[in-house]
């Protein structure tokens, strides 16, 4: 079978986090007997699984939660790790893939909106470092903001990665069936990616037009206590 050499003849990238550290974003949201535990952190998938239980015990002890949480936390982490590992070894995408990352999050009293581009092929990227720079440049003092930003980025990258795996699989199946449609599927699979030729082509400049600056500019708001309360109430309502 002759594979037509498209302009990007690189072998597809095997699944991993498209960052320098291959860390799994883990989000916990557990409610037992009216007590709710929410947390978000990253986990190194190559760590032994025994660590998970140790971590769960430790967290419960530190936060003085009822012991019932231990198993819940451990199993939640295990599930998410297992999901991550199920993608490992699969093809993700091939060729250029630069995706827009949009941040819209609230950490305590800080509201952050931002938008920027992320190269899924740059395996030296470091969301944590980006978040640190972000907080330093914008003078954010709340120590929880940085990790939250990094986590939000990782979560989105993870999602894009898993989606690419799914679409790569899909296109492989359809390739077997009908060879003629592979172009259509490949363009579909990179649906979320940008029109890179247009952005980086020979004629265009990588300096944005002035009117776009506002779009890609980070917005940081500091909320008052009342606003935070109102927002939290609304979030709760949305969940129910």
């Amino acid at each position: 079978m002759k594979a037509p050499a498209l302009s990007f003849s690189k072998a597809p990238v095997k699944f991993r986090m498209p960052t320098s550290a291959n860390l799994v974003p883990i989000r916990l949201d557990i409610e037992i007997d009216g007590q709710r535990f929410k947390d978000a952190f990253t986990w190194n998938p190559s760590d032994p699984d025994s660590e998970v239980v140790v971590f769960a015990k430790r967290t419960v002890k530190d936060l003085k939660l009822p012991p019932a949480f231990i198993t819940q936390i451990a199993s939640s982490i295990q599930t998410q790790l297992a999901e991550f590992r199920s993608y490992e070894g699969q093809d993700m995408y091939s060729g250029e893939k630069i995706v827009p990352i949009k941040l819209d999050l609230r950490v305590n009293h800080t509201l952050i909106k931002d938008q920027f581009l992320w190269d899924m092929n740059n395996f030296e990227s470091d969301p944590e470092e980006f978040a640190r720079t972000f907080c330093k440049d914008l003078g954010i003092e709340d120590p929880e903001v940085g990790p939250a930003i990094a986590f939000a980025i990782r979560e989105q990258l993870y999602e894009i990665a898993t989606q690419s795996v799914a679409s790569a699989r899909e296109s492989r199946i359809s390739k077997k069936g009908r060879r003629g449609t592979e172009h259509a599927t490949s363009s579909k699979s990179s649906g979320s990616a940008l029109d890179l030729v247009k952005l980086f082509g020979y004629r265009s400049s990588v300096v944005r037009k002035r009117k776009d600056w506002d779009v890609y500019e980070p917005i940081v708001d500091h909320l008052s206590n009342e606003e935070v309360d109102a927002l939290e109430a609304r979030e709760d309502r949305n969940i129910r």
Binding site: E124, V206, R208
Partner: protein, 572 residues
Amino acid sequence: MELTQRDPSSKPLRPDEPELDLYTIPSQSSWFLWDEIHDIERTELRDFFDGSSFTRTPKVYREYRDFIINKYREEPTRQLTFTDVRKSLVGDISLLHKVFKFLEKWGLINFSANLGNSSNVSSSNSSSLVVVEDEEDKARVKVEGTIPNAVRVGASPNSPKPISAPPVVGDSSGDAVESGFKLPPLASYSDVFGDLVKQKGLVCGNCGGNCDSGHYKYTKGEFIICINCFKNQNYGENRSMDEFKQIEHVENSSNQGAMWTEAEILLLLESVMKHGDDWELVAQNFQNKSKLDCIAKLIELPFGELMLGSSHRYGNFGGLNGNKNGANQIQLLSSELHESLKTEGQSHEQINEKEQNGDAVDEGPPSKKQRITSLSDAGGSLMKQVALISTTVGPEITVAAAEAAVTALCDENSLPRETFDIDEDYISNGICSPTSSFEQERVLQDEDSKLKERSTQSETQDISLKRDDIPLTVRIRASIGTALGAAAARSKLLADQEDREIENLVAIIIETQMKKLHQKIKHFDDLELIMEKEYTEIEDLKDSLLAERIEVLQRAVNAGICRWRDHFAVKS
């Protein structure tokens, strides 16, 4: 340690071109060129140059780089953050960050902004010259501070601050020196000049002329008119004569230094020859110059040339600065004894500092670079200048220079040589004793040594007290003489060395040329030989051909055949 001057727009470089901006980048980044991508950039940011993706090309890199640098230079004193730039650039955020960090690391951005902060921290140190020895890093920055200290880059379209012509600086920096010598070590040129221009701003508000000799100040606001305009009653709109206050031309205004004409300098030299130390008389020959101006100018003259000659490589800036330090110091010294006593106190302190330094650093003379460093950024006193100059030469030379200076002074003023004798004893002691070279050198200044003795040797208390009687001017002249002598010796040495070097090089060149010629001759000889051989061969060939032809003809005749064709016909 060289800063290069560059003009990206490839226009000829004129110092007074107003639309050009001067920016400072650290000397280690002098490889930077707008038009090119340097190997450092290629290796550190390999992503752009390995052709791995069409989103990472050298073109893209240059756009990133140029944009970020230009953005920073719109406001060089402000710290540019990554968040400021990234909104304007299309591309992978991590890659952009990498470029940003690279530029920041090399000081191509945020350099002056950082220095603005750090210079405040170090300015407390820099008033004394301790900095030089114990902190290699800082010393380096200092050197750059006194070099024409910016790299001329970027006529960037948004350049906000025009610069004034660099040569002016040497003269006017005196003011900066007086205020504790606070030249920001590496702030950009534009900053430095910004301040100076303001200080020089005695420009008539009416005719735009210079108000050097004096001016009238408008009491109800910031407005100045020159004497001429005042006399002609050109007060400007809505202003009356009563509202102006005459300001006599300011004594320490450093513009005066620039106002000396050739003729005036000659006159000054003549009158100094005639009147000697009597500055009142000297100054009488000049209408618009004070005693202090005359002294300052005189000191500036030979000194300046010497300094300019020897330190040309390090920039006139530093040299002139040094002069100005000296000049100001002289003014202080000669005008008020109190002042001078205070300076002595300072230099006394300085000795102690130096001593500590000498202990901290290795014995033996410091490396050349360090010495030069200290030369240009000495703080205030003349004594310090002398001390610095004497560090540039060996202690023996300084001793000789000091002795010569003292002798000359003694001859001239018929002073008892005994007044200096103790010093000389001390000097010889200093040389014999294997103490640190700093001490030896420092000791060479009379007052310094005196103070030193006072602090270290209590038994010579009375002697040193006695030596307080030496007239101040004599002391100053002695030390100036020492300094000049030392510098002269130094330059002689340097010149000799250069001569030898040049001779050596010329010899090498001649030798190489000879070799080349020999090679050529040999080559031609070979060629000739070959040609000859070939010629003989061809001759031989010719002969043999002729012989053959003759033989063939002979045979044909013998056989009686006239035509080859017939022969063939017969045969077939």
